[in-house]
Amino acid sequence: MTLLAFDWALLIEKLVLIAVIVFGSLGIALYTTFAERKVAAVLQDRPGPNRAGPFGLFQPFADGLKLIMKEEIIPNTSNKVLFILGPGLAMTAALMTCAVIPWSSHVELFDRKIELQIADINIGILYVFGVVSMGVYGIMIGGWASNNKFSLMAALRGASQAISYELAMGLSLIAVLMLSGSLSLKSIVGEQMADGSLWNIAYQPLGFFIFFICALAECNRTPFDLPEAENELNFGYHQEYSSMKLGFYLFAEYVNMIMSSAVMACLYFGGYDIPFLDESTLAPNIAALLGVGALLTKIVIFIFIFMWIRWTIPRFRYDQLMNLGWKTMIPLALANMLITGAVILWKAGA
């Protein structure tokens, strides 16, 4: 009987890791909603949420409880299965990205070497792109199933925006891949951690700039939050949603923010690398924990920048958005790719 003959300890290890990472991301996303309101408050010179608990720290739980307790309304004319599938897809796609992100090096526990990454696959970063392109379906299905013309328009906007910016994102990514010669996020991080090598941001400032702008657009964040432009489309593609299904859509945006921050940190800012410190001199477990801390710090900084931008820059008009994507970002990314390739060839020849 060879059925199910495999390493059960590995299965348990991975399941625990998945649970920790998924619930950890959800927890961070919970407090990102709180941080968003606090940052907005600071930037607009007002106190922000401060009633629930000390400094308003219980606010996200109060919000969550409110969303769950609200009446769940499914429009009569909607397509019920797809209406429920939409937010689920958005959330699933947002969370699936975490599978290939290397959260740190390895820890040694119970005589086992446990990699702090769910799966180090050969095609790591392409997997992220695949999952991101699935996220579009969450928006489109939700918008269409609502059977409301504003929702549909917003969904189409969101999908075409995501597709347009995915192109420039992929092109700017190619330059990083030319430097690292690998698609696996773990080896991209390892390359930046090696002695004498700088983080990719030092070689790819323009590439990072393009990637960052595209990440803003992919997460539907201001100044690219056209799908939820209230004054044109009422409330955007989730207009007909209520209760926790609305919560899923809003929450997926925050999870997306965390994941894109993590990907940017891995690609351009050395992932779990701590600057000016040689991790190999530390005990592996301590180095791993410090690494997680370093990656989380980088993620928090990126999330703060996302929020900072949201509360300072007004929204683009739709034609400006498309012009920026197709006529500025893609040519810039192509030029960046050409220059990187030329420099690599020149250095290889010299």
Binding site: T2, L3, L4, F6, N79, L82, I121, N122, I123, L126, Y127, F129, G130, S133, M134, V136, Y137, M140, I141, W144, L152, A155, L156, A159, S160, I163, L183
Partner: protein, 167 residues
């Protein structure tokens, strides 16, 4: 049965079931969504063959880009009112017979093709589907067809832009 076999039968059943659902769904949007399920099942088969790159590119290109455009068109054309014209019974019968004949030809072709005789699928051990080997093969042995197909894509893009311009 090993896990690989279980996965193979599961994915095959999923692919066939979803493909049938594409055809029998009344609502075109449902058809598109079932077609995406087919692509997922086929990508699963690629992963069983250790062709990770093909699997993910299949998802990004077909499920992620082309199917989104399909959905765009269907949603904007407002085909969602289950108003498909009822075809005559003879038309349906003729379609079923000709489709069945085509299936038979394809199956016998695959069964008897010399390329497939005595070959075994490299389950989990093949490495041609990994990006390194695939890239090397494409840019050395197959560089001319590869470049020709890229020119073909370019001309299709130019054609689309020309058609898109109203003047």
């Amino acid at each position: 049965m090993s896990i690989t076999q279980i996965m193979f039968f599961f994915l095959s059943a999923l692919a066939v079931f979803s493909a049938i659902m594409v055809l029998v769904s009344r609502n075109p949007v449902h058809s598109v969504l079932w077609l995406i399920a087919v692509f997922f099942a086929i990508s699963g088969h690629y992963i069983l063959l250790n062709a990770q790159f093909l699997a993910i590119v299949n998802l990004i290109v077909y499920a992620g880009a082309i199917m989104v455009l399909f959905l765009f068109v269907i949603m904007l054309m407002n085909l969602n009112k289950e108003s498909e014209p009822n075809k005559h019974i003879w038309m349906k019968l003729a379609g079923a017979i000709s489709g069945g004949c085509f299936l038979m030809v394809m199956v016998s072709l695959v069964r008897q093709a010399a390329d497939f005789q005595g070959k075994e699928a490299l389950v989990g051990t093949g490495d041609i589907g990994l990006i390194k080997n695939l890239g090397k093969a494409l840019f050395s042995n197959y560089v001319v067809p590869f470049e020709i197909s890229s020119v073909l894509f370019l001309s299709a893009m130019v054609g689309a832009v020309v058609i898109g311009k109203k003047e």
